[in-house]
Amino acid sequence: MSGMTFTMLDAAKMSTAEIYGQTLCDLGDEHPEIVGLSADLAKSTKIGVFGDKFPGRFFNVGIAEQNMFGMAAGMAKTGLVPYVSTFAIFTSMRALDQVHTDICYQNLDVKMIATHAGLSFGQAGTTHHCTEDIAIMRSMANMTVIVPADGIETAHAVRAAYDRKGPVYIRINRGFDQVVYDKPDYGFQIGKAVTLHEGSDLTIIACGATVWRALEAAKMLEKVDGLKVRVLNMHTIKPIDVEAVERAVKETRRVITVEDHSTIGGLGSAVAEVAASTGKAFSFKRLGVPDCFSIIGLHEDLLAHYGIDENGIAASVREMMGKDFEADDNWEDEV
């Protein structure tokens, strides 16, 4: 990847947020108009390394998220490109009016790198779990929403956000992510899903922390059950890759979405909106957090609890494959 000052080996030892911080430092070298903002979470979100490198271009506003996003809007109006980092919940909910009205409405170049998303801050409880942000952010006009699957994809997204006009929301996790990509150049492009595993029986569409788990499930299902499961990494929720969803519906007729987010309004809903417009009959299931405030616990445990880990995903695939719905309907056009 151009401009990357760390190797894949380094990356394996860095948390996702650390990779973000380093990437932003590199971008900062290339583009003097980039500024950084945080709200007493410079250390936690790792935007602090940008602050250490460019102290004059970094603003810690204290614990005041609304002020921070408003300031970012003002800065963007003057031609600066603010990267703003706090926890996902405070980006998408505490400061939402500022994000909506000051940033999205004016279509400003503010890049929001929101950390501790989904259930990744599991032990912190509902005040810090963030399972509604994809739904919220993708409903904002002008907004681009990206949910990277791992650290390297985060580096791509942070760079791509600079080149993309308008507000961008990048949702990352606390701590380390499982490594999905062992080489950097796999062709990351905003709005283009990545096929990680080919298959014609069923398609799993995943984003973020569930991508690695979906891939593991697909490998296991191939070995144990002989199933051919397609896995799509839908890293961009908005604009969604319409073509990839349509192909999944037409070619596999069974689609399961999986996300570390509520089943309402997120990836599953975004996919459903496209899939329902294909005019094709298909079997569909959305996996995620089922319209509740999550229990507390370790991220791993919570993903298992809500059936969005490898085993949970595999069980849902098996269940869908076991349904004899084809007899009821005219499925002659199935490929």
Binding site: N60, A64, Q123, T126, T127
Partner: protein, 289 residues
């Protein structure tokens, strides 16, 4: 009402017990917000063991005083206070942060008996407390609402929106306390986002300001008595505290906002707490805080 010597001794003993139990809970939990728990512990101790009208056996008692831990991240300091009083089984502290436990980093009012509001998103507590205080007044009840804020938390605009409203509505049955430990996550408050002149800000918003030594029970008692006598303006107690108070190797160090203790550090922490307690009991001024 001034504290008797016996009162004071009892509160110091209780605070020591609770600080120690907090260290244990942090060990059981794996890690926790130790700095802000230690700075707030004497405040919570005097409220729960001297000032508040409560009945842990009847936690929903309609006329109970309300306490809102607006700086909700120090659940690991607050849970021991509640468990010790019998709001729930102390054994539960051993499962703090464990998957499926009712006790997480920020306490959930629907899962933890005795907790009045699910805090953790900073800046919310004063508004909720004001609502409760006005609720009491409207219904002719005499209970009080106590809200404990972090000083870094006072960066949030909502705190000042609530402050303006509390003065406007003359909510004298609301007692606001700020744990002024002068630290937040990214550094000292005055370096990250200066609060001073802090007392003047509260005054300008219509509050009567009482400054107290947040680690001296006489001083806290005098401040709480002033708050109890408030008739015109709501009172804010700015409790000057020390982040990590009682544990010498973390005290005053903002980097210990959050952390964990291995076996060696746990032992050192407990030794330090014992020294702190002994020094305080002997009436030493400016002890090993």
């Amino acid at each position: 009402m001034a504290l008797t010597t016996e009162d004071k001794r009892r509160l110091e003993d209780k605070a020591h017990e609770l600080r120690t139990l907090c260290v244990d809970t942090i060990v059981w939990a794996g890690s926790g917000h130790v700095g802000g728990s230690m700075s707030a512990m004497d405040i919570m101790t005097i409220l729960y063991h001297k000032y508040m009208r409560i009945d842990p056996k009847n936690p929903a008692m309609p006329d109970r005083d309300r306490f809102i831990l607006s700086k909700g991240h120090v659940g690991v300091g607050y849970a021991p206070v509640l468990a010790d009083l019998g709001y729930f089984d102390k054994e539960l502290l051993k499962e703090y942060n464990h998957t499926g436990s009712p006790l997480g980093m920020h306490l959930d009012s629907r899962k933890v008996t005795g907790v009045e509001a699910s805090t953790g998103s900073l800046g919310h507590g004063l508004a909720i407390g004001l609502g409760m205080a006005l609720g009491a007044r409207l219904q002719g009840r005499d209970w009080k609402t106590y809200v404990l804020l972090g000083d870094g938390e006072c960066d949030e605009g909502e705190v000042w929106e609530s402050a303006m409203a509390a003065a406007h509505f003359k909510a004298t049955n609301l007692v606001t306390i700020v744990d002024r430990n002068k630290c937040m996550i990214d550094g000292p408050t005055e370096e990250v986002m200066a609060l001073e002149p802090f007392a003047d800000k509260w005054r300008a918003f219509g509050f009567e300001v009482v400054e107290a030594d947040g680690h001296d029970f006489d001083s806290l008692a005098a401040a709480l008595d002033t708050a109890a006598a408030a008739r015109e303006k709501p009172v804010v107690i700015i409790a000057n505290t020390i982040k990590g108070c009682g544990i010498d190797f973390i005290s005053g160090d903002y980097k210990w906002h959050y952390g964990g203790f291995d076996g060696e550090k746990t032992a050192k922490a407990k030794e330090s707490l014992a020294r702190f307690h002994a020094a305080r009991a002997s009436g030493e001024k400016g002890t090993a805080k």
